[in-house]
Each structure stands twice: as C-alpha cells, then as structure tokens.
Amino acid sequence: MRIFVLAGFIVVLGLCFFATQIPVSITSDKVEEAVSDAVSESELPVDGDIVEQVVLRSLEILDAGQRRRLTYLFGAYIIIWLVFMLYVLRLEQQQRLLNQRLTQLEIISDVQETDQEQ
C-alpha cells in the first residue's frame, strides 16, 4: 500500500512539475509573422512595431496569469496527496510496530510453554 501511494504521489508530483514548465506555444517569431500579416491586410495605417509590442506584452501577462493559476492548482493537489501519503505511511509504521509486538508475544508464549513442560 505504501509503495502504491508513494508511486502515485511521485506521478502526480511529476505531472505537476512538467505542467508548470509548459512553454508558451505562441513564440515571438509567430507573433511577428501574424502582426506583419495583419498590418499588411489592414486598410488603416498601423504601426507594426507598436502592435507587436502590445501583443507580446499581452502574451506575457496571459502567460504569467496561467503560471500563477497552475501553481495554485498543483499546490492544492500536492497538499491533498501529501496528506494521504503521510497518513498511509503512519498506518504502515503502526502495522510494523504491531507485527513486532506480536512476534515478541509469540516468543514469550513459547518460553512460557517450555517452562510449563519442564
């Protein structure tokens, strides 16, 4: 049971780590290309550099917002699994202690039986 929970926790932790590392799929090259296309298609006079800067800044803001939200989301799930994992580890520890006590009791019982036979 302990291995199952540990493995589960590591998988969730890995997923969380990699999910927060997802790079922005819209790169500055793509933005430059899209802005250039939009400016050339526009019937109104537009300053391409200014539009590009505005779009890039908007993307930065969106990216920062998403990273912040993902940190909250995965922070919550990590805590949830951490609580379960610590609880199961405690159960495992208690079970081990109980087994040790039972073994000691069996030894004492065997010694008492031997004494009675003698």
């Binding site: 969730v12 989301l73 805590i79 949830i80 609580v83 159960l91 009791l105």
Partner: protein, 225 residues
C-alpha cells in the same frame, strides 16, 4: 471482510483515482471565471462530502455502541472519525488555496469556514480524549463526544443558509455546471468515497488486531503474575 475483497476494493479505488485525475486535468473544460484554479473544486467538495459520510458513520456507530456495548462498534466509530479528520484536513488545506486566488486572502472568518474549523477541532478533541482515558471509559466517553460533535455537521452544511456568506454560494443556489464538469465531479466524488471505504476497512482491521493483541497481552500478564 476478506483479504481478496479488500484488495479488489483497493484496485477499484486506484483505478477510480487515476480516471478522476485524468478527467480533471485532461477532460473537464476550463471554467470561465476561476480558470484552471476551479479544478481544485473536484477534490475539495468531494472531500467535504466524504467528511459528512465519515462523521455520520462515526455518529451511527457511536450510538450503536452506547446501546449494544459491542467493542467492534467503538473501533468502527473511531476508524471513521480518524478518516473524517484526514478528509477534513484536506478540505481545510485545499480551501485556502482556492480562497487566495478567488478572494485574495488565505482565510476568511465566514460561517462555513469557521464551522468547518470548529468541526475539525471537535474531532481533534475526540482523539485527545481517547488517548487520555483508559480503555473501559474511553469507548463510552468518546462515543458520547462523537454524537455531540456530529451536531456540527448540519451547521457546516446549512451555514450559508443560516448566516449570510460573502464567499460560499448559498445552499441550494442554482449554479450552471457543464455536463463534462458534472461527470468529472461525480467520478472524483466516487473515487474519494471508495478511498474512504478502503482506508476504513484497513484501519478497522488494524484496530481490531491491536485490540486482540492487548487482550492477549493482559492475559499473559495475569498468567505471569
């Protein structure tokens, strides 16, 4: 309960948890106001409902123990309370993360949060009482406290109806939830209930073994004396 049945429940629980995590992160759509943070809801609310179930079982077995005085009922009641406390801890830890993003504060002394904290403290008291008393008085006193502590569960549930809450939606308030979100929540709820059932069986078995050990040990001590 047989070892095989416990293992089957364990495997089903593991599968449900895996499916629920996939649904939460890969299937459920992103909500319009809270965006990705809304996904905390699936485990937060499910854990809260599992807390009701756990403390409800604690109350039922406590009453049963007070009537019939069967030690197994006391063991089941304490196992349910222990798991309820674990799930309540999860609710109290995941809630503030939601609160920080939604309301820009980690904690708010509003009715539902406060009554949930009181519920958690009451069951912490339940275990302090159990560890402080000797076995004969422990079962009776903790059963009485279990019944009293359960009175806080309806207060938690109806807190938003009794008092005005600025943050939690009023109980029974109509809120639109998309079907994929509803299915995801149902699976997450089922996964946590199954996890509760599985851990309850394991914990009950352990408590029973511990009780048997104590009985045998006392018998040996008497014989040795």
């Amino acid at each position: 309960m047989g070892n095989l049945t416990t293992k089957i429940i364990g495997v089903i629980t593991a599968l449900l948890i895996f499916i629920s995590l996939y649904l939460i992160f890969g299937y459920a759509p992103i909500e319009d106001t809270m965006f990705e943070v809304q996904k905390i809801f699936y485990y937060h609310v499910s854990a809260a409902l599992t807390v009701y179930l756990a403390f409800g079982l604690n109350c039922v077995f406590s009453v049963k123990y007070l009537i019939q005085r069967k030690p197994n009922d006391d063991l089941l009641a304490s196992a349910a309370a222990e798991l309820g406390l674990i799930f309540c801890t999860i609710v109290l830890l995941s809630g503030p993360i939601w609160a920080r993003y939604a309301w820009n504060t980690w904690w708010n002394w509003e009715p539902r949060l406060t009554s949930t904290l009181v519920l958690w403290l009451m069951y912490v008291g339940y275990f302090i009482l159990r560890s402080a008393l000797e076995s004969d008085r422990r079962s009776v006193y903790s059963a009485v406290l279990g019944v009293i502590a359960f009175l806080d569960v309806p207060i938690v549930h109806f807190a938003t109806k009794f008092w005005e809450s600025e943050v939690h939606p009023e109980r029974g308030a109509k809120f639109d939830i998309e079907l994929p979100m509803l299915y995801t929540w149902m699976v997450a709820l089922l996964a946590l209930i199954m996890l509760f059932v599985y851990l309850l069986i394991v914990r009950y078995g352990m408590k029973k073994a511990q009780m048997r050990y104590e009985v045998i040990q006392q018998k040996h001590l008497r014989e040795a004396a």
